[in-house]
Amino acid sequence: MSDAIVIGAGIIGASCAHALALAGLSVRVVDAGLPAATAAGMGHLVSLDGNAAELALCSDSLTRWRALAPSLPASGAYHRCGTLWLAENEDDLATADDKRAALAMAGIGSELINPTRLAALEPLLRPGLSGALRVESDAILYAPRVADWLLESVGITLERAQVAALEDQKVYLADGRRLGAQVIVLAAGLQAGALLEGLPIAAKKGHLLITDRYPGRISHQLVELGYGASAHSGQGTSVAFNLQARPTGQLLIGSTRQFDTLDPCVEPALLARMLERARGYLPALGELNAIRAWTGFRAATPDGLPIIGRHPEREGLWLALGHEGLGVTTAPSTAALIRAEVLGEHPPLDPLPYRFERFQASAPAAAEGRR
């Protein structure tokens, strides 16, 4: 019998399993091999400041990723490329400056870049942009490989199986077996709702497209300043420019956000909108050859923050899910919060804003700890 069972081997489950194993627990990870956000996503480790709790989680996590970086395998493709938040006009520049101030409060350095310097940093950007905010500490990584690597740690057993039902300190597998453990961590992403009723999680579909290899053309992750607004909008379909230079020289282009669909098909009209938007920033993209487009689903909560911590009613059950478009970034702090609570240690950051209780009817102010 293991001390802990983690359901889900995406970047969140893998990080939690790794943290618990490092604390000396024996951990069994059960994963059904269902379509996962970790395999679909972009792997941008980014400091978002939609609210204080989001920024706190990002900032703590980025520090943890930096500490882990030297031990990651080369295939994990960690690269501290930095982010350039692109400003199209004076309003965007004002947004950039607000962002700079918010990041500074969290101890994250960033600087405003004028158009001349921007053109020198990224010569392929169209002329006429108003400038950018450069966040040097942001990075990228290849999350599916990093998740696998985290699961190779001593003390972890990985099993390919589907959990069919969840009871206090027990899981029932689809093949009929029953496993027990003191601690169960539910990190099953979007599919967690099938195992636990009442989780306020909605699917947000996203498209991505990747080009052939064109090394040396782009060096930062490029994001339009309107991205934050698009990322945090609670409804409707939106498109925002987001581009990453993979270490292979491929350009990974995003992104779209859609509610109310679970159909994984690539939608050509929406993909065209996304690429048109990207070409508005990088005209040279029109000359490049795309080799694949795909979609993935983010697991979104109503307030955009993940659900991390002990389930208020279920014995021995911890939740680590609902990370939306930021789960790769925030996986290490999610795991650190879970570890601290499981072991009764002092939490690395204020856990309240991420607790499941905020969605329960009797909860006080749902947005406690947020600004």
């Binding site: 290899r213 292979t248 080799i291």
Partner: protein, 78 residues
């Protein structure tokens, strides 16, 4: 007959030949190399697998869905 240049060497082939077929006709069917430098060749022959990416007149194209044209310059990509 149509004359094209493949990696600097002239090839003469019938009209209607695909660039993928031209690669094969040259005696070395590989289109490109992967990141580790291993050769990759056309596979699906219908524009799906993306294995046959070559550079045609300066642009990255799929060899299997492109027909040869007079004076076309084809380069295997690295």
């Amino acid at each position: 007959m149509i004359r094209l240049i493949l990696d600097g060497e002239a090839l003469v082939l019938p009209e209607g030949t695909s660039v993928a077929a031209a690669l094969a006709a040259s005696g070395d069917d590989h289109a490109r190399s992967d990141l580790a430098g291993r050769p990759r060749a056309p596979f699906c022959g219908m524009g799906i697998c993306q294995e046959c990416r070559v550079c045609i007149d300066g642009r990255r194209r799929l060899a299997c869905v492109t027909l040869i044209r007079e004076g076309m310059k084809v380069e295997r990509t690295r």
